[in-house]
């Protein structure tokens, strides 16, 4: 029996974000779907970079952002994901370790370069993402160390991992090991278009109990159940998920379990600068609370607070200690 050494372990695409401001016109000219994440190849990546404005490079990746957020709240955290041993790969590795997260996945020494995501932030704070997965899609089941997985109270997976075949297999291997060790498995649906590609498989994961805790936002949930009506989607979710949290931007979130449905408000935000990472950081707060045995309402407050910090500035990694922020707001950390 492996002892618990980590509160949360994330498995996801190891990505460096290149964040730039853009006008809505730019998205139109580039035929980008506003608010969505598109996967792009290297040629398209080069073309987008050549036409976009000055950028700021900041480590990202959905599950990685979540894990760094959990660490900032004080969680013992670990991450598994694939970079190449190149400039951006060293940036990713430095940043996640400097945030106090255990990160020991060996980098690739040849093949595709480290993943990057061109994040275009429009004046309304909305972000539109174009991701070149590069080395991240080479995450392999061999990168999943059974002892490390079994050492984490919660294993957290991102839906984006479903795109590359090897990463999907790594995901399933990790879920199996986690359950074998009596741990929880959490999943975020990541993106409505991602759900559209893998709807049946994601539903199977929930129904088969491969996933104990599901994170989704409103549009992902509607995509999952193919309905425009939120109440209908929520009712369907209630009948299938053990525990699920649906985030609704400024309307807060809904925590759904078999025996109760809790609504929790968002934290007020002075100015929405960039919504990148809002969902990731909400998950960070909720996972932190859940791993520490807090009730769902408290976990939801922690999630809302972490999300509020992240949308007040550019980038998806906290700019200040979330633990200190939570303490200021009287939340238990």
């Amino acid at each position: 029996m492996t002892a618990i050494r980590h509160d949360v372990l994330g498995i996801g695409n190891a990505i460096v974000d290149v964040i730039a401001r853009a006008e809505d016109d730019f998205l139109l000219r580039q035929a980008m779907r506003k608010g969505a994440m598109a996967l792009i190849d290297e040629a398209r990546a080069q073309a987008i970079y050549a036409s976009m404005g000055p950028g700021v490079e900041s480590s990202g990746g959905s599950a990685a952002n979540t894990i760094v957020g959990a660490a900032s709240l004080g969680a013992r955290s670990a991450f598994i994901g694939k970079v190449k041993d190149d400039g951006l790969g060293r940036v990713f590795t430095h940043d996640i370790r400097a945030a106090g997260v255990a990160f020991d996945t060996p980098p690739a020494f040849d093949g595709a370069s480290t993943a990057r995501c061109y994040v275009l932030v429009t004046p309304d704070g909305e972000r539109t993402m174009n991701t070149y997965l590069g080395a991240a899609q080479d995450l392999h089941p061999n990168d999943i160390d059974p002892d490390t997985i079994a050492s984490a109270a919660i294993v957290y997976l991102e839906g984006y991992l479903w795109d590359p075949k090897n990463a999907k297999d790594a995901f399933l291997k990790a879920a199996k090991i986690a359950h074998g060790a009596g741990r929880l498995v959490a999943l975020t649906l990541s993106d409505a278009f991602c759900v559209d590609r893998f709807r049946a498989e994601f539903l199977d994961l929930v129904r088969a109990g491969t996933v104990d805790l599901l994170f989704a936002n409103e549009s992902e949930l509607r995509s999952l159940y193919q309905t425009a009506d939120f109440a209908t989607a929520l009712a369907a979710l209630r009948g299938e998920a053990r525990l699920a949290v649906v985030t609704r931007s400024e309307k807060g979130c809904v925590v759904v379990s078999r025996d109760a449905t809790i609504e929790s408000p968002a934290f007020p935000v002075e100015r929405v600068v960039d919504t990148t990472g809002a969902g990731d950081l909400f998950a960070a707060g909720f996972l932190f609370g859940h791993a520490h045995g807090r009730d769902h309402a408290t976990s939801a407050r922690l999630g809302a607070l972490a999300a509020a910090e992240i949308i007040g500035h550019l980038g998806a990694r906290p700019e200040r200690s979330l633990k200190a922020l939570a303490q200021e707001h009287g939340l238990p950390v």
Copy 2:
């Protein structure tokens, strides 16, 4: 006679900033002089990076920041500086060109890697910098194209260039060409410790008229004239400089010319997040105004406005159009 194609051309160290938050204790443990810029070698660069927190990469370099700021105000701008053809070099090149600045200095294909500056921002918003000059110090007089220099109304140089021998020679070559073509030469003193290293040479540049327009902050000016008394330093400057602007943080600036001394206030700032680039952006606004024939008071207001924008967020490149910002404040752009 070359026609004017650029309002401002900057020559400086081509640097990518790696910005991280740090506590004062960290600076103490690392024996760093708070608020200063230190030149470091590659081994020290690696040691600092390994011990500092998560970073955000953003193109920087003092004169480069100024030129990007001038372009954001609407100036026709160009930059000369040296990167290597590596990851950070491509980031620098992309960002400055995406900002609308002409940048055609050929990159180095071997030798030291692209310069980076570890910018440590303490909770008070002050920044402490450690710069590995790398490829930037290989800027060579051959990189100074006479026709390009003669095409700029103002050639703007950074004092930091005085450190590498070849860059200094490039600086002097550019100043000579500019004056030969009847253009103005501007210089920023860059840093009090930089002034301490090159005091006699900088004074010579001012006295000999190699520099027509001098930028300094209060501590640089006191270092130049080796006095703790600001009024004494200002009187000395008045007797020697054709035109000089001394910035005084929240106290605004003083514009000194042979026939007049003008004081101009700072723009109020809601919250000082990071002072990196404040001096650089002040120079951007003043140079823009000066190149467009505005009076000193108006140029100083433009400088103050650009500086106010930059200290409200992390990083030394504008996050919004300075032209639009100036228009909102009724300033002529």
